[in-house]
């Protein structure tokens, strides 16, 4: 009986080893070099954002080509900003990579503030992301400008990467069109230079933003002309 069990056990190990070896994908040198290149680029941009903005808390930037289905927010727990392929694939230049990273940096830096070493802040961000989204977008604009990146890239990046829901009144997140309008207004208020000397005017994503934000931009014009300081209810 013992011999039979031993034989079956040995057979199982042999089968497992064979299957495992067969299914293991060989990673080529070109893939490793490509990953290293993207990792370096992401780290360089991320560290420049941290240094230029004097953000004195630690965080790291990790490139991961395997997209995760779980939304675990490692930025809030381990202070590790993960740039998955599904996020980075929308970026077409360094400014747009900076736009993605600046938002995540802001969120991660926020997880350092408040009681219990920022644990409560992290729970709040995780439980009520809608409250913080527009705030992170605006701070991302500040971070990008300080680090020498064009903040309009945040508009083009968001326009390409974030989908548009039907409603947001009872949802956990804001409508992307609303966030875009707030970013646009914020850039107008604080950094009008970039709108006056608009390098993105011929960018397809920016043109699409202009096309899809006519009503919101009209609201902004009315607000500015009336001299009102009240927040506009964008759609």
């Amino acid at each position: 009986m013992k011999k039979i069990l031993g034989f079956i056990f040995a057979l199982l190990i042999l089968i497992y080893g064979t299957v495992n070896t067969a299914s293991a994908k060989e990673v080529s040198s070109a893939e490793i070099i490509n990953d290293m290149y993207i990792q370096k680029r992401i780290s360089d941009i991320g560290l420049r954002l941290l240094n230029a903005n004097k953000i004195d808390v630690r965080m790291i930037f990790v490139y991961n080509s395997k997209n995760s289905k779980l939304n675990l927010e490692p930025g809030l727990t381990k202070r590790q900003i993960i740039a998955y392929d599904k996020s980075i694939q929308f970026a077409s230049d360094d400014d747009e990579i900076a736009a993605f990273l600046a938002r995540e940096i802001c969120k991660t830096a926020e997880s350092y503030t408040g009681v219990w070493r920022g644990m409560v802040s992290s729970v709040q961000i995780k439980c009520a992301p809608k409250k913080y989204e527009i705030y992170f977008d605006k701070r991302a604009v500040d971070f990008m400008v300080k680090a020498g990146y064009n903040p309009l890239a945040l508009i083009t990046y968001m326009n390409k990467a974030y989908p548009q829901k039907r409603f947001d009144r009872f949802g956990r997140t804001n409508l992307t069109s609303k966030r875009l309008a707030h970013v646009y207004e914020y850039i107008y208020i604080k950094y009008p230079y970039y709108l006056k000397h608009n390098e993105y005017l011929e960018n397809e994503a920016y043109q699409n933003f202009l096309l899809t934000s006519l009503e919101n931009r009209k609201k902004l014009m009315e607000k500015v002309k009336s001299g009102s300081k009240k927040a506009v209810d964008y759609e």
Binding site: K54, A128, R139, L201, K230
Partner: protein
């Protein structure tokens, strides 16, 4: 021939003109404005830790209550006490420091507090790149109380959601608050050895 050239020129230029949707809103709003290029901070060198604290107080109270605050709202601070560097007074008590609201967060459901953020200061005679002064003032944070109650009540259908109506506290900066910014006089000095150059 001339007509042909004019026609070709029109088609070439016209094609470009019609392809771009102009940002008429900004054209209208910025037509008489010549905005300055924003200041970046790229020539940094954080080797030195020699730092001088500058204590400030706001001249006029700001609060997140009832639209009492907006982005880029100008603020005025006064220096609380003389600031010395190498035995010399570089900032006298009562000197004016200009700043602006960098951003703010209105209060939210489940006890999330409002917050005011100030990060940029303009102090006469001091390079803003050598100042570190991120300041964040929060309102009363009720989340610590609200979330445990919420989670305890969640098994009873619909009851846990009632805590959504508990709002956090408003934030305000008054004359009693001391905003401390740090001046690092030697930051950015050693440019030759800087790895970013």
């Amino acid at each position: 021939m001339n007509r042909l050239i004019v026609l070709l020129a029109f088609l070439l230029l016209g094609n470009n003109c019609f392809a771009i949707v102009q940002d008429e809103v900004m054209d209208e709003l910025l037509k008489d404005i010549k905005p300055a290029k924003p200041i970046t901070n790229l020539n940094y060198n954080y080797e030195s830790f020699n730092c001088i604290p500058i204590k400030l107080k706001i001249t006029e109270k700001i609060t997140t209550k009832k639209d009492g605050i907006y982005d880029n709202q100008p603020l005025t601070f006064k220096v609380r006490q003389n600031v010395k560097y190498n035995g010399e007074v570089i900032l006298k008590q009562g000197s004016i420091v200009k700043a602006a609201v960098d951003s703010y967060l209105s209060r939210g459901m489940n006890g999330i507090p409002a917050a005011i953020i100030i990060d940029n200061y303009h102090i006469a005679g001091i390079d803003s790149a050598k100042i570190k002064g991120f300041y964040k003032k929060r309102g009363l944070n009720l989340s610590l109380m609200v979330y445990p109650i919420k989670w305890a009540l969640t098994p009873i259908p619909g009851v846990g959601s009632l805590t959504n109506f508990i709002l956090g506290g408003n934030a305000s900066i008054t004359e009693d608050d001391t905003v401390t910014v740090y001046y690092y006089p030697d930051w950015g000095k050693i440019k030759e050895s800087s790895p970013i150059d």
